[in-house]
Symmetry: C2
């Protein structure tokens, strides 16, 4: 693991790191904020998965999470959204919603994507092990959040590993990719036409198929241009109601899909995560 940069911030250290990923077969860059802490302490880890077109840098620059992570004692990890580099295939038309910057947190089974596009295994296996080895992280106290495509990632990963992630939340997530254009394109392109394979990567389908969480927090901007065509939080509301999952879903008047929206509610989410991570830590 190579250190790209470190900067003191809010009493802790914001770092950017790079490593050769065995899973994606590429170099991968990610950011980690380590709050001020006592020597020898291990800290809970919040995973943040980013949306389409993003790298680790968007939330690192604009997410305004450091003040709260310093106050609450949380490590904050932001991975990239796809493999990148020479030999990594992109969308044939260079579109923003597939390929580079759009890994959708799946392990692709289709060519030519299957070799490098393995973001599910990268985010759930390889990177957690790397973080545990290099940072004062407590693997028993992890939680996950994300935005848009990353909200989809946080929900599907959280629903798949409910014991590992003690809290799951999302900003403007894609809740049912099988039912919206972004998801049709991505899941079809990475996983093929057999829609049965899509259900493990669709939060609403996972819940319909029996996945459960003790609680779920979602904020959604009411002025988000993607609300109806791509995000459709009502589908998550219906699935959670049907399954008895307590979902706190708030539609935020006037807010759009941007990091201005995310930063506004980041504090609420981090406090919600910290409450659940601390509870678990004490248990």
């Amino acid at each position: 693991m190579e250190t790209v940069s470190t900067n003191r911030a809010f009493g802790g250290v914001q770092g950017v790191y790079r490593h050769a990923s065995a899973v994606t077969g590429t170099d991968m860059t990610f950011s980690v904020y380590v709050p001020p802490h006592e020597a020898g302490a291990t800290l809970p880890v919040v995973w943040y998965l980013s949306g389409l077109t993003c790298t680790h840098a968007n939330v690192t620059d604009k997410g305004e999470y450091r003040r709260l992570c310093a106050e609450l004692g949380l490590i904050f990890v932001a991975p990239d959204t796809s493999p990148r580099g020479e030999g990594v295939p992109d969308d044939p038309d260079g579109a923003y919603d597939f390929g580079l910057g759009a890994g959708f947190y799946v392990d692709a089974t289709q060519q030519p994507f299957a070799q490098h596009y393995r973001m599910w295994s990268y985010v759930t296996q390889e990177l957690p092990a790397l973080v545990a080895a290099h940072f004062p992280a407590d693997p028993d106290r992890q939680s996950i959040m994300g935005h848009s495509m990353g909200g989809h990632g946080a929900l599907t990963i959280g629903l798949t590993f409910p014991d590992r992630y003690k809290a799951v939340s999302a900003f403007a997530p894609i809740v049912a990719p099988s039912q919206v254009p972004w998801g049709h394109k991505a899941l079809g392109g990475y996983l093929g036409d057999d829609r049965a394979a899509w259900r493990k990567h669709d939060a609403v389908a996972l819940i319909e198929d029996g996945a459960r969480l003790p609680a779920l927090l979602v904020d959604q901007g009411a002025a988000d241009a993607f609300l109806e065509p791509q995000l459709r939080p009502g589908l998550l509301r219906a699935a959670c109601d049907g399954a008895g999952i307590p979902l706190t879903l708030t539609l935020r008047d006037g807010y759009d899909h941007s990091y201005y929206f995310i930063a506004t509610f980041m504090g609420d989410h981090l406090r919600w995560h910290a409450a659940r991570l601390t509870q678990q830590g004490a248990a």
Copy 2:
């Protein structure tokens, strides 16, 4: 004035705007955050001047000022750092420390810069009038802060108009451009070789020549690579001590020159400004 973008953030509106500046003879872009407020209210205005290479966007993206401005009821204005566009001369070698992105908040007298490089008049006259006309701003409650070159701008403007700006603060400012390489190049290039003309654009010289402020707040990263060669806060300390200006200057261990440093201490500065703006408003 043209609206480039508006986004809801922390209950208020973060906007980016463009206008044809009569002073610089170019289009100029700036950002304004208006916090939530009662209809008809007028609010205090904090001016933020940015450093070398920056536009309005750096602090708008990374400054983490909106939460506090919303809480404290402050309008926050971030101008660009130089004129830009066709016909605007740059540094002959394209260096980062002169020309585009490096206006140094002076009205240039030297050719070929005198026509467009008039950031002093732009920031102290034209833009305040524009902001007062288009936003719920109270011209009697303004304050000014800045970073690096923008800290130089905030100090020199604040010292020149102590009645207009009720609070003056800076992050890692250039306090004595006449005594450091950045300043030699910029003041020489914009104002010529007569060093008498430089004194009005040098905070330490202004204080030596009799300018006074009721208080001054400066934070400086101790790990800032520019600390000794360019910033030299000790010169400001000596000048303030000599003049009886109460200066709160704090050297921040481990912090560098970046927006991670600025964001960390932005809250302290905004609270300090708000206390003085509210005091004045009540007087």
